[in-house]
Amino acid sequence: MKPASFTYHSPTSVDEAVALLAELGPQEGRILAGGQSLVPTMAFRMALPSHLIDINGIAELAKLTANDGVITIGACVRHAAFESEALPGATGALLRKVVQNIAHYPIRTRGTFCGSVANADPASEWCCVMASLDGVVVLRSQRGTRRVPAAEFYQGVMATAREDDELVVAAELPMLTEDTRTGFVEFSRRKGDFAIAMALVTYRLVRGVIVEPRVAVGGAESHARRIVEAEDALSGQALDASIFATAAEAAAAAVEPMEDINNTAAYRRALVRTLTQRALEGAQ
């Protein structure tokens, strides 16, 4: 399973990278970041890029910063960076919870947050995070910079709003307030496998009442999204086990799950119910 031939480019600046992308993007040019998703598809010759633009040498893309209420994740920040205790606040805690579910350790040393965001696999955990926190994707091209909210960015299975000549240079996540509770649960056949479904929840309690709930489901539909019906079922309610069940039921009813050779829509729906409830129950 050897890849087909390609011309290799290793730019050292973002400007250089987008210049190359402008020329080569339309000629089956692809960006190489972590390579943990791209290279297997090249090995199977399902992806046949004639050009690879390796952005791993661009220092500014390796930055992970937290400023002014925003966590900015550069294109080359690896999954493993989110295992660190150094990430601040409730967002940091959430990312640490989520990252343990991503593949396995050696994949996490190379794979990148933004690579996962750009790849838009329905089972991507980071896409679910972006969808649930209303993250923003920062795109750069020779035409300038675009900032696209997650809800607009994700359009279908492996389909995004990114144009051929655009490079995802960063993803931005809001820093959640200290008192935000977060929960994340996914289900796969073996630990580390692609998730069949996942649920991510966040909420705050004000005088024992749920405010600002977010309920996002991933892995079950063509792309992760917030489920308004579930959020409405939580909003303004007192914290209570039965409320979690109601919200979970609402999420299950609201999704239009994918079917594949191994998983029926009905099963994914049942999983959404289970996982949403467990994410809510386990939210801390």
Partner: protein
Amino acid sequence: MTAKPKSWIGASVERLEDLPLVIGRGRFAGDVSFTHQLHMRMVRSPYAHGRLKTINATEARALPGVVAIWTAEDIADLSPIDFREGPNERLAPFRQPVLAAEYVRYVGEPVAAVFASDPYIAEDAAELVTIDVDELDAVIDASLPTSEFGAGLTTEPTICRQGYGDIVAAFKNATTIVELDLSVGRHSGVPLETRGAIGRYDAARDVLELHGAAKVPHKNRESLARMLGRSTAGVHIYEGHVGGGFGVRGEIYPEDILVLVAALRLGRPVKWLEDRREHMIAANHSRQQRHRIRAAVDTEGRLIGIDDSFFHDQGAYIRTHGTRVADTACGILPGPYRLPHFRVNGHFRLTNKTPAATYRAPGRYETNFVRERLMDAIALKLGISRVEVRRRNLISPDEMPYERPLVALGDEVVLDSGDYEGILNKALERFQWDKLESDIRKRRKAGEYVGLGLAMYVEKSGLGPTDGARINVHANGEVEVLTGGASVGQGFETVIAQVCAETLGTDYRRVRVVHGRTDRIEYGIGAHATRATVMTANATAVAAGKVRAKALDMAAQLLQADPSSLTIANGSVVRTDGAGASISLGDIAHHLRPVSPTRGDRDPGLSAEGWFTTAHMTYPYGVQVALVEIDPGTGAVHVEKMLIAFDVGRAINPALVRGQLVGGFAQGLGGALFEEFQFDERGQPMSVTFADYLIPTAHEMPKVDILITEDAPSTCNPLGIKGAGEGGVAAVGAVIASAVDDALGGKNLITQIPIKPQFVKAIIDGLKA
């Protein structure tokens, strides 16, 4: 380990094989390279079934670095791949051609072979070859009515039939009949090293070499020599390190023949390495059977008769094993139980899927599942405990040797020794079955879905008839044992060294074991059917005994002592009373060299050949017990507790036996919960990567308690050994199904493996509703 144990036999010594492997100096097929070698890449059919019209390789041939591209026309003189056991006229039309000629019959079937200077270029060229096929409907379900295979041939080449007694009467007079429809999913060994073969023609010696072979080097040499019209003196097999066999590696596949023919015709060594996707669609599949089985029992749950009709999904062709797996299933189905009447019809069916053959415990993984589900169903129907129903049917030790009028692996079934009830009791006690039954009742009241499973089984081992070994002691005292064995990673060298060392009287670390080399020894049985420890070890013991006698005889002369006052310890002949001089085996060997003045009329060399012949296979046996918990929210099954109790007659190296059982369990767990080769309705394989074919990882493995017993040594060989290679995997499908079924209320709802969470979840939601 520092201190020498009392006996090498029975000691869990460290393996001799390990050092080169842990320092990265192994020699697997991929590590073998010759100067100026070509790389072969197969072009494989993307269609499951069709008439092959044209193959266009023009563009591919033009690629720089491509030396040749062959299709069936280029090897028209080669016969299809023969059966290992010899010609079979009735089954011959269903053999696989080396390259597809008229038809393609499964996705992955070799259609053309590309030879290039580099594996990347070879793959580029293979991608450029186009195949024109008139597609035909693909047969995916072996239990549907048969269709046409070719002129006058249907997709049911044969029915494997066995039986005895009067099955019709048995069912007519039965008070209770239990009937089940049970299926085992298609899965296989899937070793971590994919297949590989390197062909090289040494013109200087006129020897055609095949490197990378495994399992049955001598048998394969015979077959290949015959196929290529060469004498066996001019064909040699070289087995290096092998990354797991499990039954699927080492059979003759089209690629093995092609590298040899290409080496001859193209005048350069030819190296072929399979990639993972190819392995999933081209290496032997296994296990897929559907059984419609009925049991007639009396009011106490004792078996009167079993009538089984099954569909064996052979895939597209009959490969080297012929109908062996289905035949074995027929012969071994009754397991440890008394069974007065029996009838089995194994419908051997061809489908448009990757051909199937043996995979660790072939015919037994399937029938253990089927038979043990049947026992559970009988228990349920009669309201008897699952333990009790088994007890009532077990063959007892004083009925041994127990002859069944059945044939398995070409051998009449004679259960040589075994205390089935004894091991059942040991297992239940060790597992704390009674206490767990009571715990489970409490947990279920609290809403948990937990269950206990039980499976009893008889394995087979020591397939003969004969094996030999040659031992030679070198001047420095190192003992070389030449065997016709093979290693697939199981520790063959270590076990043989232990037996040799103990019999001869030296340290096992001074023993060098040679295997997988047809140029070093003329005959060999390789390693399969869990026979190496039984056959080759016993042959080694015979040879070592002769070397020992010769050493003592020579030493008696040299030490001027009575042979009866001498023994061998630590590689030297010494007096039993400890007094006086000693002489090392190396020195004795020196005195036995051809020009030695002290040799006398003895044949030169401190060496001997030994043979061991056995009339029958021997039958290890065991019990597996499991405690599982189901997550009702997802349907996922979690094994909380697991026990394998297995009697091996005598364990040469208990640590290695344990390793075989635990490793086998992992594979069995895969087949019970995770692994399946799935196909869509057009015959397109859907499980071609490690992301869709799910092998258990450390995370999925429970702690497995292993109880190795030596209560029933084999009566078929002097060392009393019964092998353990297949004892771990054989009953896992059965025991997990039993436990999950129990967790779901014990209503016989589990009739199919692998058991998928989706299926379990649907049952739970249905039960709740």
